[in-house]
Each structure stands twice: as structure tokens, then as C-alpha cells.
Amino acid sequence: MSMKDEVVSRPAGQERETGSMMGGMGEQEQERGERPKRVGDRVFRYLTTTSGLVIVVAIVLIGFFLLIKAVPSLLADSTNFLTDWRFDTTGGKLAFGIRDMLVVTVLSSLLALVLAMPISLGIALFLTQYAPRSLARGFGYLVDLLAAVPSVVFGLWGVLVLGPAIEPVQRALNAGLGWFPLFSDGNVSLAGGGNIFTAGVVLAVMLLPIITSVTREVFRQTPVNQIEGALALGATKWEMVRTTVLPFGKSGFIAASMLGLGRALGETIAVLMILHTATSPSGFSFFDGGSTFASKIASAASEFSEPLPTGAFIAAGLVLFLLTFVVNAIARSIAKPKKEKA
């Protein structure tokens, strides 16, 4: 009762502005305009907004700090940052370029993507359309299990188990298709498989659960009436999939693949463990060694002491940041329209 009296006993007659008294709207808009009287509301609002801002500020700071640490080293770079393959930061004179890192990063990630995309698509279709209902869930857990394997374990497996195991395949490809640049002799020995090819295969395995999980969700949302419509027309299962599920899920699948690509570009430890170091420039072959942006930075991390050499690696990190930024932005722009439809 006391609460009711509160309202009534409130001093009357604060002249209210005529017309629309509560402008634009949505409760919080009104609160913004009128200042909520409740301390709790104001504090809580302030707290949550600040937390949102933390994220914005974090990104800005990442870009800002990488940039200011990289610029002095870039200015001191005695060679072309974009086109030189060497990355020499020792001995007082800086001569570093990102050509080979870019090549290795892009080649290994693209190989991973090319291998992982069709298989992920197949898995997603299998789990949502083909697998018996009773088993689909269990099968799904199996694929998710791959996501539970940390990348350091993938690296271990890649370098100690998979690399040696697929070395004969690599030799055969190199011997048979060596005339084709991608399969020509690399700048490291084929022995042990410490090359882009092995890294790409391992990355592909790592991408499978990432691409599959998003694609699965999208496929699952295919409107049932479309599916039933196709089946009622006498379509075979494959025809139904091709005419309803695939068109519906296509953009989701591509977006998921782009997200996977972003992951592959930034993968550090697995690649670092697999790739052998190269002493000559990359010839755009899958059998090249060398390092990606991430693995190069990680391998040098223990020697970060002098600002200028460190800055060189930070410059490489900045390029990686921009690269993943662009890839993720593309993924989001592909994924967004789908979301609104759903």
C-alpha cells in the first residue's frame, strides 16, 4: 500500500511538456532523456555499457600498440618489407620482408580449406540429412570431439605420426606431378614431411569441426515445408538436398569456411612444430618449408628483448591481424543476410 501512496503523493503538476512527452523511445531512450531516478538502474547501465566499451577499446588498443611498436622497425628496415623473403633481425641491421611468410601462410591455409570444405559439407549433410536420427547425435559428438583436441596435440601428431606416414604420398606427387609448380621440388627435404603439404592436411583436420558445426546448424534450419514440398514432388533424397538444403545453406557454409580460413591463417603451434626451416626462398610449392606469420613470431618469441628486432615481428603480427580481419569481415558479410532471413 505504501508503494501506491508513493505515486499519488508525488507532488503534482510538474508541468509536462505538451505533445509527445516521451520522445523517441524504448524504455532506455526515455531513461536517457529523463535520467532514471533509480540509482540501481543508472549504475547497472553504466556497468554494462562500460563492459561493452572494454571490447571496443581492446580492439583499438591492439591495432594501436601493434602499429606504434612496428613503425620504428619498419622505418629501420633496410629491405622491402613486402617483397623480400629474408627475415633478418640479428646483428644490428634489420633486413626483413614478409614475402615467404605470406606465401606459406596463404598456401597452407588454402590447401587446408580446399581439403576441408568438401569433407565438411559432406559431414554436415550426413549428420543433418542422411544419418539415421538415432545415431546422428552420437556421430555429431564424434566430430565435435575433434574440436576438443588442442592444436599442440595436432602439431605433435602431425610431425611425429602423420608427416612420416604421408611422406610416400608426397614423394609420389612430387615425382608424378613435379612439372606443376605447386608440386615441384620444395626448398626443404621431403624426408619427414616437414612442409606446407603436411601442415595443410593437419590444418584441414583442425578446420573440419569448425566448418561442420556452423554448417550443420544452418542446414538444420532449412524450412521443413520446402523439404517436404520437394519430396512430395517425387524428388530423390539427393535431388531434395540439391534443390532445398544446399541453396538454403550455401551462404552459411561459405561463411563458415571463411571463419575456418581465418583460424587456419592464425594457427601457430601446430604449424610451428611441423614446418622445417628453409634457407632459400619459396618457389610456391606445397613441398616448401619455412614459416607462417604466426609460427615465425612464436619461434622467435624467446628472443624478444631489443625493441627494433621485436618490432619487426610485431610488424609481421600486424599484417596477420589485418589479413584475418579482412577474411573475418568477408565471412560476416556473407553470413549476415542469412541471419535476417532465418
Partner: protein
């Protein structure tokens, strides 16, 4: 009806039969799709089998969970991952203590308050942050914490880098759960004269709680396996260090990476044992997450 009696087949088939081409294509698709799944199982089984076969013996050795490598020689079958397990859990826990509250509050901002350009910017930045490679997060913390503030390498610096990786995952999953809370519940609460912040804290959050916990556990599981930050931001140590703010501290990934360069049989056993431990730890967190999600107050699908 221009067809005459004569033109009709004597006895029309009850069903239209599929042409062989369509049938073949259908079968082929089924085979390929099933094959894709089987192909994915190959690395999974291969990898897990390798890790278990090569590593199980380490886990059953008496000292594995109770001793560090203090005073253990590289080729000696002794010691364990006690220090690395502590390191992994401590770094992840500190990370979670920072990232989960900020993540939940940011998600609340996005769902309950956010309108206009700031909310859109925040959403965009969460997307960007979720795409930041772990090595870049590590470099940033290095540039900020160590090279600008002049502080030492420490486990805490690792936790800070992990926060950057965990935050977007927490925000996303929490946001999703909050959006699943029916608007009706908020309105019911407002209609009782309950202020907005109390509605969020006492009605909306409890309803979404299990989903939020699940999401946080999954994010934590992911962070446990991150290696790049520990390579850049903290040193390796043979023995236990309880202090996250000072000195070297080994975590499981760092332990594996370090023992990777130890070619002895003992070293091999250690890396596979640590790999198995790490996988089991991640799976444990995933399992806890799944169990918690069973207790959801929101009925999904």
C-alpha cells in the same frame, strides 16, 4: 482426354519408376556423403589412438599427477605434470575470473540496453575480436604489458592474452542465451513494478544461467589448449610456481612444446602423456558444460 483406349499401356504401372540415371546419382551422393563422415573419423581415431597408446603409461605412473619435473633428468622416467596442470588451471581460472564477468555484462549491454551506433560498433568489435589469432593477442599483451609497461613475463600476462581470446566466446554465447529468454518474462517483471536492473539480475539472468555457465565452460575448454600466448608471455619451468604474477610457470601446452625437443624415450612418454592429459582435461570441461546445459530453464527446440 485425347488418348484413346488403345494408346494407353495395357496396365499402367502403380508407381512411376525412377530413371536409372537419377537413381545412380542418388546412390552416388549417399555414398559420397557417408564417405566424408568416414574420412573425418580417420584422423580422429588415428590421433586419439596414437595419443592413448603412447601416453597412457605416463598417466598411470605414480608420480604423474603429484610431482613436477624438479630435479628429473631428461632421460629419467620420473616426475610428472603436477606443475603444468597447476599452471594450466591457474592461468585459465584467472582468465575466466576476468573474462566471464566482463563478457556477461557486455552481453547484457548488447541485449538489454544496446541501441544505435555504439551497440553496432560493439557487436562488430566482438566479431573482430573472435577472429584475432592467439599469437596476435599474445603479441599485443607483449607490446603493452612487457615492452610498454616494462613488466616481467608472467603467468598473469598469459591470462590477459587468454582473456582477449575468451571474451568474444563468452559474449556470443551469453548474448544468445539472453536473447532466448522470452520477452514476456521481462514484461511480467516490469508489470510488477520491478526496476529494469533488478529484472535483469533476478529474472533474466537466472533464467539464462545454465546456458551462460555452459558457454563459459566451453570457452574455458578452448582457452586451456592455447599455446601461442604461453610461448610469448611466460617462461618454462621444471618445477612448480604458485605465483601467477612472478616467475616462470609451465602449463600443459608449454610442457608438451618443451619436451618435444627432448628426444629420449622418457621425453616421448612425457609429451604423449601430457597430450592425453590435456585432451582429457578439455573433454572434462566440455562434459561439465553438456551436463549443465541439461538443467536449462529455457526450453529450446
Amino acid at each position: 482426354m485425347t488418348t484413346t483406349e488403345l494408346e494407353r499401356p495395357a496396365r499402367p504401372p502403380v508407381f512411376h519408376h525412377l530413371s536409372t540415371g537419377r537413381k545412380a546419382r542418388n546412390h552416388l551422393a549417399t555414398v559420397l556423403v557417408s564417405l566424408a563422415f568416414l574420412i573425418a573419423l580417420v584422423p580422429l581415431v588415428w590421433l586419439l589412438a596414437t595419443v592413448v597408446i603412447k601416453g597412457w603409461r605416463a598417466l598411470v605412473s605414480p608420480d604423474w599427477f603429484t610431482h613436477s619435473l624438479k630435479g628429473v633428468l631428461p632421460d629419467q622416467f620420473a616426475g610428472g605434470i603436477y606443475h603444468a596442470l597447476y599452471g594450466s588451471l591457474a592461468q585459465a581460472l584467472v582468465c575466466a575470473v576476468i573474462a566471464v564477468p566482463i563478457g556477461i555484462l557486455a552481453a547484457i549491454y548488447l541485449v538489454e540496453y544496446g541501441r544505435g551506433w555504439l551497440a553496432r560498433l560493439t557487436t562488430f568489435m566482438v566479431d573482430i575480436l573472435s577472429g584475432v589469432p592467439s599469437i596476435v593477442a599474445a603479441l599485443f599483451i607483449f607490446a603493452l604489458w612487457i615492452s610498454t609497461f616494462g613488466l616481467e613475463q608472467s603467468a598473469f600476462a598469459v591470462s590477459l592474452a587468454l582473456v582477449l581470446l575468451m571474451l568474444p566466446v563468452v559474449v556470443r554465447s551469453c548474448e544468445e542465451m539472453l536473447r532466448l529468454v522470452p520477452q514476456e518474462l521481462r514484461e511480467a517483471s516490469y508489470a510488477l513494478g520491478i526496476p529494469k536492473w533488478k529484472t535483469i539480475v533476478r529474472v533474466v539472468l537466472p533464467t539464462a544461467l545454465s546456458g551462460i555457465v555452459t558457454g563459459s565452460m566451453l570457452a574455458l575448454a578452448r582457452v586451456l589448449g592455447e599455446t601461442a600466448p604461453v610461448l610469448v608471455l611466460v617462461g618454462y619451468s621444471q618445477s612448480i610456481n604458485f605465483n601467477i604474477f612472478d616467475g616462470n610457470m609451465t602449463s600443459l601446452p608449454l610442457f608438451i612444446y618443451n619436451q618435444f625437443t627432448n628426444p629420449t624415450a622418457a621425453g616421448q612418454l612425457r609429451i604423449w602423456g601430457a597430450a592425453l592429459t590435456l585432451i582429457l582435461l578439455v573433454m572434462l570441461f566440455n562434459l561439465i558444460a553438456t551436463v549443465i546445459s541439461r538443467f536449462s530453464a529455457i526450453k529450446t527446440k
